[in-house]
Subunit: 154 residues, 2 copies
Amino acid sequence: MTETESTGTPTDTCAGPPQGNRRPDGADKYTISEVAALTGLTAHTLRWYERIGLMPHIDRSHTGQRRYSNRDLDWLALVGKLRLTGMPVADMVRYAELVRAGDHTYTERFELLKRTREDVLARIAELQGTLAVLDRKIDFYADAGLALASERTR
Amino acid sequence: MTETESTGTPTDTCAGPPQGNRRPDGADKYTISEVAALTGLTAHTLRWYERIGLMPHIDRSHTGQRRYSNRDLDWLALVGKLRLTGMPVADMVRYAELVRAGDHTYTERFELLKRTREDVLARIAELQGTLAVLDRKIDFYADAGLALASERTR
DNA sequence: CGCTTGCTTGGAGTGCACTCCAGGGATCTA
DNA sequence: TAGATCCCTGGAGTGCACTCCAAGCAAGCG
């Protein structure tokens, strides 16, 4: 219920997604439960993301606890967006691997993003088709409901 | 090797209403594999839909084989649309129950459809937000790729 | 000092939506 | 009459994306 995924201003350059109550860079050390609150994911899921290779290496405190940075939050915001598109986690892991592999994977990342973009466009089109069907059915039920109501109450 | 189930349609995954190759009403008797071909679902899935109560009672031939009608195809088309919205199968079963229950469930069906419509609108908005992020990233990678290319080949 | 809270781990469990299997029956073609 | 092909059933298995568990460590508090 603490979904702090606001629709922020799209003014950032590359990966600057919307995120509210952050600490300034340099003082950006978040515990796992803070990140959970900020992202809406559970701590379980955050650890699981790390295990499957979807996260970069997360900083640790001197006692071994995770300390997330603003950069990690940026990455999680992107992951959240990709998740909304229905992209399989395995594909996101693939993208994460490309990022870790270095600059020579730019082209491949580019292709992956373009393919994803096409998928999103297709999904939007699908949903708009569904919306049309839904609207037709809703009109039908509105008429039927009206007919029933007038027949029964007046 | 009893059933050639998952042959499916190799390319046509648009899930649009393929109402072209239907038989006229009155001569509308389709076997399960014909329906599978028409809908893109597998015969397994069609039987499973029936088992969980997502389908009305399907006609049977004198030997007990399923014979689908145009009406069944209509229902499957709606189910396909609802599936695209991400609606859980359990909710679709609920809708199917309401339809079976009779005319006095009109209002409830109406509410369900309206809620679904809102969900679809929200989903489209989400996807458009994701599209914006994706486009920003794609622009970034296009520039980076260009820089790399000009550095190397020109 | 003990208690509570929050974090750690590997591994096991959950829910959804299929997906497949074994074993058998009916129909068609050669 | 044989073989191929389609279909039937209940139940078991699969893959994905989490979700939870048990056992234990570390810090803060009265």
